[in-house]
């Protein structure tokens, strides 16, 4: 209960913050500290720009460069070739394993029944 009362007291004090003449020396002290800190705005724009410019250049080059077919092929070519070779091998394997099997159902259906032959 005491903690709650204590908190309410601080909260009530804080409400006086927005008034120009709060009268509370603690609020005046803290406002003074903020005022000092407000004047302390370092002029670091040029330094920050110098440091980030090369990164921004590379970012904009990578995002804005026109799409080149050669670059796209160079980037995806080896993986594409590997995938194509694998697919071809699988298809060839499947074809060869079915080569000696019985005729397919469709072919059997088209041939005349044994008694008429």
């Amino acid at each position: 209960m005491n903690r709650w009362k204590d908190w309410r007291q601080w909260s009530k004090k804080a409400r006086a913050w927005d008034f120009p003449d709060a009268g509370d020396p603690k609020i005046a002290s803290l406002k003074g500290m903020f005022k000092s800190a407000r004047r302390d705005a370092p002029d670091i724009g040029a330094e920050v720009w110098r440091n980030i410019r090369p990164r921004l250049q590379s970012l904009s080059q990578s995002s804005l460069a026109p799409i080149s077919l050669w670059n796209a092929l160079a980037a995806t070519g080896p993986r594409f070739a590997m995938a194509a070779a694998c697919t071809l091998l699988i298809m060839a394997g499947a074809f060869m394993s079915r080569a000696g099997d019985a005729p397919r159902i469709e072919t059997a259906a088209l041939s005349p029944p044994p008694r008429y032959s």
Binding site: W7, W10, S11, K13, A14, R15, W17, P25, K26, I27, A28, S29, L30, K31, G32, M33, F34, S36, A37, R38, R39, D40, A41, P42, D43, I44, G45, A46, E47, V48, W49, N51, I52, R53, R55, L56, Q57, L59, S60, L64
Partner: protein, 196 residues
């Protein structure tokens, strides 16, 4: 006669960047770097090295996300949002270490000005120290309270702008700000009471 609409210079630079001119980002960096640095330092507290890198990362993130910027909010508000989210990521990765506070400075802030207070050097030193102590005080609060205090008290942003930057309603901004101020006041009081 129809009054001329104010030209949003930031929006013009943003459009040029979107058109593929990275150099158009320079005026935006130069305009907002100091403010973003102050915001990031306010939220990250004593992690000075992380804060330095964070400012650069915020601008790179913003540049990369520019195509998604629709212009519903001001560029600065959007940039603040990126900065706050980036700071949250840093804090999530490694929680902050609490640094003991110096009671003397709070006493000095409250003390009336002495006759020798005119010295410029003294003033600069006092301001730097004050700023350092404020960071330590802010370090006593949780991140959501720190962010809101820095945006309101250091950057002078309106409730509406803070709400947009943090993704909360202006009413929530008001109540959270009051809680943050109360906690800051209590933290400052605790420093005094801890002194033997």
């Amino acid at each position: 006669m129809i009054p001329a609409l104010p030209i949003d210079e930031d929006a013009l630079w943003v459009e040029r960047c979107k058109a593929g001119n990275p150099d158009a980002f320079e005026p935006l960096v130069k305009k907002f770097a100091g403010r973003i640095e102050r915001l990031v330092r306010g939220i990250l507290g004593d992690r000075r090295l992380e804060a330095e890198d964070a400012v650069q990362d915020v601008f790179i993130k913003a540049y990369t996300a520019l195509p998604k910027f629709r212009g519903d909010a001001k560029f600065s508000t959007w940039l603040y949002r990126i900065a706050v989210n980036h700071c949250r990521d840093i804090i999530r990765r490694s929680p902050p270490v609490s640094v003991p506070l110096d009671e003397n400075l709070l006493a000095a802030e409250e003390a009336p000005e002495t006759e020798e207070a005119g010295s410029e050097e003294k003033q600069v030193r006092a301001e730097a120290e004050s700023s350092r102590q404020l960071q330590k005080l802010l370090g006593e609060l949780k991140e959501s309270h720190r962010s809101i205090l820095v945006m309101r008290e250091l950057e002078g942003m309106s409730y509406d702008e803070i709400g947009k930057a943090l993704g909360i309603l202006p009413g929530t901004v008001r109540s959270r700000l009051n809680r943050a101020r109360a906690k800051l006041l209590r933290a400052a009081e605790n420093i005094r009471s801890e002194k033997p």
